[in-house]
Symmetry: C2
Subunit: 216 residues, 2 copies
């Protein structure tokens, strides 16, 4: 089990992709940079998730700790073999990849067509959902900074801040310090997020993958 502090990277975009990592505790951000420095966070990694799977010989993105993070490391080849051998792990990995693809498509919808308010509302619902297994409380943990949120949502830090303030002033959410929020009106938030076909249970059961126990 390895451990890194907030801000440290497990690997960088372009590093030789020799390992796969399983996060045990903490949150990571996955990002890509354009040559001029524009940053896009393509996802956040929570405990139980894997990072670094790819076919290329180099990582296509950087993985950094949003909070202090503990993780396990697997040799790339050993990981591949293990997956290939186990008729139990294999479909679990496949399931992960499919879920990840579905999330990526939802993110494309968000980035291509949603307004700033819809993006922020969607984001709050997404992270509320990530935690849903652990806890069922209207108080959700927001470990990332406003800049992380902005780079994930394709907005600026100022727009994220203004939008959060507006949601709070309308009583939809209530800030609990910098890194937590109380959701006061869940239905309203789902409505503001767009894609809510009212009786939509997407936000209460959206993952079909169970907790996997990765090798070792």
């Amino acid at each position: 089990m390895e451990r890194i502090e907030t801000g440290a990277a497990i690997f960088w975009e372009g590093d030789a992709a020799d390992h796969v990592f399983a996060v045990v505790e903490g949150v990571l951000r996955i990002h890509k940079l354009l040559p001029d420095g524009r940053r896009v966070i393509t996802g956040f990694i929570y405990p139980g998730d894997l990072v670094g799977i790819s076919l290329r010989d180099r990582y296509l993105y950087t993985a950094e700790a949003v909070t202090p993070t503990r993780f396990r490391r697997f040799g790339r080849n050993r990981f591949q073999e293990e997956i290939n051998k186990s008729p139990e792990l294999r479909p679990q990995l496949f399931a992960r990849l499919c879920d990840e693809m579905a999330a990526a498509q939802d993110q494309m919808v968000l980035l291509a067509r949603k307004s700033a308010e819809e993006r922020v509302a969607s984001f709050l619902l997404i992270i509320a959902n990530r935690l849903a297994g652990d806890q069922r409380s209207p108080v959700i943990d927001v470990p990332m900074t406003r800049l992380d949120m902005a780079d994930y949502l394709g907005l600026t830090i100022e727009t994220v801040s203004r939008t959060m303030t507006k949601l709070a002033s309308r009583g939809v959410i209530a800030p609990c310090g910098r890194h937590a929020v109380t959701i006061r009106k869940l239905e309203m938030l789902a409505l503001l997020a767009g894609e809510s076909d009212e009786d939509d249970n997407r936000w209460t059961s959206n993952t079909y993958t169970q907790q996997a126990v990765w090798p070792h």
Copy 2:
């Protein structure tokens, strides 16, 4: 082998996901709709690609023909078995999923941070690359309409049109009728697309997956 005409759908978002499809000829667009009708095209499917793989019992998107399309249909269960049995097909499918994931992440970068001009330039390079196997010519086929391009790039039809006109007036591209374009200055186009770290060979060899022969 089945066949559909331009505009027809193979399946709709929300349909029972009972089959997987392999496109043999033609081009499909994959899209998702927000409840108010905003459309996002999350990808285009070319001959040799698969569509409809998912773990959910419903498709998460609609697949429609951009051009007349011929495709093969596989029962979902039979497809899963076939993949699971074959130690040859399995890594190929895995490779596809990884490539698709990499493309999705590039698209998130495009949608989150690129300007209209960068988006259009990136798009032209992407489709030029899709065809690269078939032909090596500066004349690239653009089977989709301006509206399809707009909904893929998170822009409006007007902005796509204006941007194409501007690229043409600068001699970077030259229109060849509505559905083809000559690339006059490939380096310039790559530069305008952003992410060009000059000596970047991303655009000449970006796929590690070979042509797979899907079952049947």
